[in-house]
């Protein structure tokens, strides 16, 4: 299992053990982490799973593709260098212990 620390919009910290291969969006929805809406279920269509990834883990993630990049440009909570859509982040051993802060407003 991969350990993921979510920081909810009200700053509550939630530690979740995630099955490898699940996305951080799926794990959030399955574990009632608040602040992630994820209407499209991971099809990268809705932009309602915006998170900020702790800097030290940013480089371990697969790069942002063109679709995710365009959607992040349009999200409501300010896009920062560490902004990602959590449906595009798969839990792998390389990111064990990752910390993600959930954007306060989704779309």
């Amino acid at each position: 299992m991969i350990t993921v620390r979510y920081i909810e919009p009200d700053l509550t910290e939630r530690v979740v053990q995630v099955q490898p291969g699940q996305t951080l969006m799926q794990a959030a929805v399955n574990n009632r982490v608040r602040g992630i809406v994820a209407e499209c279920g991971g099809a990268c269509m809705c932009a309602t799973c915006h998170v900020y990834v702790e800097e030290s883990h940013v480089d371990r993630l697969k790069a942002v593709d063109a679709t995710e990049d365009e959607m992040l440009e349009a999200v409501e909570s300010e896009r920062q260098d560490n902004s990602r859509l959590s449906c595009q982040i798969k839990a792998t051993p390389e990111i064990d212990g990752i910390v993600v802060r959930i954007a306060p407003v989704q779309v």
Partner: protein
């Protein structure tokens, strides 16, 4: 009696509704009764990834532990035979009664049947649930010829997917354009061009008139314009009808959907309906509408859950839709209920553009093709009730985001 809420239907709406009840602090018992055996799952991939994969089960809406952790009792593979509002109970298949204090109906919709003789032949397929998708996948060999009846979202997604698997596909659409009134003419012709480039034989303005039989199985299709096509598989996607039988028999008002008020309540403040089966008064709309989409199901579920918990608020979410066909991403914000004028942003020929649809000076919908960022901005514009001018909409250099005050 212990407080109990029964949710009929374990699709997107029913599952979201039960999750929302817990999020909103409801602590009584929750039953979710679903007709299918499978752990509740995402429907959109059935016409796409699921069809190309070898997976036995589709992607689930929630892991199984979610239901245990949240004390949600799933009764799967179970049909509800009767809803008795007077005695507040439902009767399920084996005759068992489940009593409730409050009730949510999220029974969804079923494929509209084609009114043609031979509809029940082996090889004539409908696609709504995982069993349907698995059956289509299993019956197709290699490089077959498949007929798809209906050029809407579902038919085109299936055509694109089967084409990518090496099958040759003929799509029959009775109308003159693909995807009917759901999309702008620019988007319809873009997708027509793409499908033809992919080798899909798209036939407009023609419809099957009869099925050709060999033994008990399908051998082909003949059309009203006299075409004749051999195929052992036909997949029908000509829309859905809402599942309202139980609600009707229970005495609820139904007319192409269960009629609900602006907070999704059906006749009483302890009965709600949500999703594909519900017909609701749209903010600013003339008449009640019924919307078939994942977004509508999950947003209405939230409103319906709040109503059941005594906190009714009018439903006001901006409708949005998506379809993916091979690598083409179509996202639509807003709902069209009459003629519109199009302003194209970007170039249709480039394959990346949005069509801003106006009625007078008011923006009513935006269709985006491979323009995900513009789609998100469009949703925000519609939610804020802001309309760009036509010049602004058509000028890719103009920053639309600036029109939305934060």
């Amino acid at each position: 009696m212990e407080e109990q809420i029964v949710v009929i239907g374990a699709g997107h709406a029913g599952i979201s509704l039960s999750a929302c009840l817990r999020e909103e602090g409801y602590e009584g018992r929750i039953w979710v009764i679903g007709a299918e055996e499978a752990t509740p799952y995402h429907r959109p991939p059935l016409s796409k990834e699921f069809m190309t994969s070898a997976q036995d089960s589709p992607r689930t809406l929630r892991d199984e532990h979610f239901y245990r952790d949240n004390d949600i009792d799933l009764m799967l593979g179970e049909t509800v035979n009767e809803v008795d509002l007077e005695r507040r109970r439902v009767v399920v298949g084996d005759g068992r009664e489940i009593r409730f204090g409050r009730l949510a109906i999220a029974t969804g919709a079923s494929p509209r049947r084609l009114a043609l003789a031979g509809d029940a032949l082996e090889g004539v397929c409908y696609l709504r649930n995982v069993g349907d998708a698995a059956a289509i996948r299993a019956r197709l060999g290699e490089a077959e010829h498949v007929v798809v009846i209906g050029g809407g979202f579902l038919g085109l997604e299936v055509a694109a997917t089967l084409g990518s698997l090496g099958h040759s596909v003929t799509v029959f659409e009775a109308g003159r354009t693909l995807m009917g009134r759901a999309v702008s003419p620019e988007v319809a012709s873009h997708f027509l061009r793409r499908h033809r480039e992919w080798g899909v034989d798209v036939v407009l303005d023609d419809a099957p008139e009869s099925f050709v039989k060999r033994g008990g199985a399908l051998a082909g299709v003949t059309t009203s314009r006299g075409r004749s096509i051999s195929a052992t598989t036909a997949i029908i996607g000509v829309g859905v009808t809402p599942e309202t039988r139980l609600a009707e028999r229970a005495g609820l008002r139904c007319r192409d959907g269960i009629e609900v008020d602006a907070s999704m309540r059906a006749g009483a403040d302890w009965v709600v309906a949500a999703g594909d089966c519900a017909r609701f008064p749209r903010a600013g709309g003339r008449d009640r509408v019924r919307i078939e989409s994942v977004q509508n199901a999950s947003d209405q579920a939230r409103t319906a859950a709040a109503s059941l918990l005594g906190r009714p608020a009018p439903f006001s979410a901006v409708p949005w839709f998506w379809s993916s066909q091979r690598d083409e991403r179509l996202q639509i914000a807003g709902l069209i209920d009459g003629p519109t004028e199009s302003v194209v942003r970007g170039h249709v020929g480039s394959g990346r553009f949005s069509v801003f649809r106006f009625r007078g000076d008011r923006l009513v919908a935006v269709d985006s093709v491979n323009r995900p960022g513009e789609h998100i901005v469009a949703r925000k514009l519609l939610r804020a009730g802001r309309s760009p001018t036509r010049e602004q909409a058509g000028d890719p250099e103009f920053e639309l985001k600036g029109l939305i005050s934060s």
